[in-house]
Assembly symmetry: C3
Homo-oligomer: 354 residues x 3
């Protein structure tokens, strides 16, 4: 992480924003507000943490508009004021941490079918398997233990981390990042009939990941029964997420860890699913909808709304009573309805008497 | 997926059902009702989608009893009428998509202990590890990155997808399919004592998967502390499911994605667990019980019932109030009980007066 | 599991506890109370199962203080009476099942960077990858398919099961056990900006696992954005758990299967999280807190308390009504408040009249 330094002015130019203070100071590294020292830049995205600035030893701080402080002690610091300080922070981190060093080397301990086609600059670690008819785009990196089945297509500048599996026929766009243990194109969960007579429905569709998708460790994306499971351009998916067969996720949607989407459900564009959200099959989640962490979705959700059903834990003994009473909620309602009727009759009869 | 064609009559004979219309038309492929074209067969399992038939270009349609349409435009189509159209669809898909081509080849890049025993026709991809005393049945396929520990038994005609791990001593029946990243026989989660004095309980039991089991990607099945964790014949388990030590799952049960079953719980036969169902330890779920998606199970469930506790998300702001009020449900009940008493006294006193 | 026998007196000496009955009987194996036979020892941790003792064929039984039975049939058995019978059981199991046989062999089919440093007695299975500058401590075992990136540190006497991935720069203490498919150091889930303008925040921190940590199969632990994600000494984590970037888990905490902890949350020491617990980001869970299975945590939890929000499934049809009524809980409260007011007015007016 220690790289050649850049002046604050250079950082402002490359990441966006304006310098407040001395633009000639040299920055070598990005660090957290608690840990940053001289020669390092940190960021203050949330005004709540402003108090931490007093003791902060960073040479420069990325802040939002109007957040530069005027107290004498603070004026000694240099600032990079950016419209979205979090974006500036991300871009400066990128400048100091260029992505995975492509070795442009194909290990002799990898197993690559003669009928596979690897473009220029591809890196293949040992113990990789690449099947017949599979194509891998320029500068893509396949880490150790990656398995690409037959007739797979992987675009340019992708990174497939160790032990990623992409089964036959699946298509992956460019600049896609698949973290360790991701499985793309496992069979959808489909059976017909019951008991002894149950029959597996062959899953003969594929998965298509569009450009700029990133998928977290040990997440699974099932192939379609027929047709395609589609993860749209720019979608970001966290760890241990389940995407079932024939699901479609629209562009730039965000899916947090341990969420699960059942078969054939369509997620719109720019949707945000919190961690552990579960959505049943054959629903539609509208563009821009946001679902809070831990929520269940049993019916389609219109565009643009925010929905939740996540609970917050209460003292254990009290909660045990709630668990017992909850199924009687309909009875409680009818008791209250009944009381309302009686009380209104009493009021009436009282009024008549007076 | 494009295979030699079969006439509709041949399909009816092999998959079951009767032809309505011209049985001589030749079918090459199965496709969805929206995508099917000439030479292709599709299916209509749900009468709700009947309207799609009008614009459907498939040469033939699999339908249920009494679903053949009588309008002139529809009569031009050929139909395969089956008792369970979904089963017929599955069988026809199987006819057109025979299962994974067994290469009957053992890669020299695999690592197979001399003391392992591989029956005829086994396929071993590169980077596979097979330990001492392990036996693999005829025609089984071990994809790249599969690890079989010592004294493992795998039956005939199994498919172990890439990076499947089966640890020492576990037994797998015949025709078992384990999808990529499945772990069989990891240690159960067992410790005795507390804090600094905590002691690991060695997990010295095994996992036994009976015949015709299928397990989804990245699912984990822990070995028993003592004895066996058992997945019964014909059980189908989806992706990212957790099966803890000493669990027993009865024959032909179905477990959807991200469900979790804690230690020593017994699941009966023909049980259906929806996605994300969580069951605590030492319970019994009766034969044929069905648990809705997202449900928690804190007590045993009798046979044959359907149970749920999955929630559906509400508008976020309203839900925040619900989250706050829910722990006060017992208080609400006692308020209502109290009101009931008062109101009944009022009614009585009112009656006395009149 | 069949090892050289030990007398009951030897077991008492090595595992703790006192013999009641004949200490010279020889024990060869530990078995469950239902399955144990002659020459075997079993345990009775829960007095509820005492009835099983009558039919138990074990030669000896581990029991708690005061649990030795006085009936004539039971007096024929030998007992090992221990303060914590579960701990004695664990220790005796360890005596009969010494941990994984270290082969002290480095496979020629592994890929080890010349710049890596392996201490004495390390075992490396085939298809392992060890990157530049990585150090592996004495007697550590790396199973098949393990990937250690660059500049990784692994302590002594660790066991990394098949297909474990540890990415660049992460540090692992001594006596750490990582089960199959565990991913350490995958990127945290961090992006700045929205839609087309979304920018990845490089995740340049590391993960640090302290001594005596054990992590279950297919669990994922993300690297910090900056700084460290820390799993404290003695922490035990079950299968399919998600630990997000910059999380800190205090010493000796226990996290059951499928739990998930979002970014920057701090878990104290000796905390217990039940299965499927979900905790949102930037919270603090106090030392010794316990969270019941299936609970959501949306606010910080003080030390030492027990909290729950897991639900228990009800009959499906009844539950559907609950799901509909639950979002109206605030309205129900206001109805009841309103009724209270009316009733108290009625009571008052009634009192005035009498």
């Amino acid at each position: 992480m220690t790289a050649a330094g850049k002046t604050l002015s250079e950082l402002a130019q490359q990441a966006g924003g304006r310098v407040v203070g001395d633009g000639r100071i040299v920055i070598h590294k990005v660090a957290s507000i608690e840990e940053a020292g001289p020669g390092e830049i940190t960021f203050l995205a949330n005004p709540r943490y402003q108090a931490l600035l007093a003791s902060c030893k960073a040479s420069a701080v990325i802040v939002g508009p109007g957040m530069v402080l005027e107290s004498p002690s603070e004026r000694r610091k240099a600032y990079l004021e950016a419209a979205d300080p979090y974006v500036a922070f991300a871009k400066i981190l990128q400048l100091f941490n260029p992505s995975a060093s492509c070795r442009e080397h194909i290990s002799s301990q990898a197993s690559i079918d003669p009928g596979a086609d690897l473009e220029a600059g591809v890196t293949v670690f040992p113990h990789v398997f690449v099947g017949k008819g599979t194509r891998v785009g320029a500068r893509t990196v396949l880490y150790s233990g990656v398995f690409l089945g037959e007739q797979v297509q992987v675009g340019q500048d992708c990174v497939l981390h160790p032990n990623v599996v992409v089964r036959d026929g699946c298509r992956i766009g460019s600049r896609v990042v698949l973290h360790a243990g991701v499985v793309i194109g496992s069979d959808g969960f489909g059976y017909a009939g019951e008991g002894e007579q149950r029959v597996k429905i062959p899953q003969v569709g594929i998965v298509e990941l569009e450009d700029d998708v990133e998928i977290g460790a040990n997440t699974t994306v099932d192939r379609a029964t027929l047709g395609r499971t589609i993860i749209g351009r720019g979608v970001k998916i966290d760890n241990l997420v389940q995407i079932a067969h024939n699901v479609v996720v629209g562009e730039n949607s965000i899916i947090a860890a341990q969420a699960g989407i059942a078969g054939s459900t369509r997620i719109g564009k720019d949707v945000m699913l919190g961690g552990r959200v579960g959505i049943i099959n054959h629903l539609t989640i509208g563009d821009g909808a946001r679902i809070g962490p831990g929520s269940g979705i049993l019916q389609s959700v219109p565009p643009g709304v925010m929905r939740s059903s996540g609970l917050h834990a209460a003292p254990h003994r009290e909660w045990l009573k709630v668990v017992t009473l909850l199924p009687q909620l309909p009875r409680l309602w009818s008791l209250v309805r009944n009381l309302e009727k009686k009380v209104s009759e009493l009021v009436k009869s009282n009024d008549n008497k007076s």
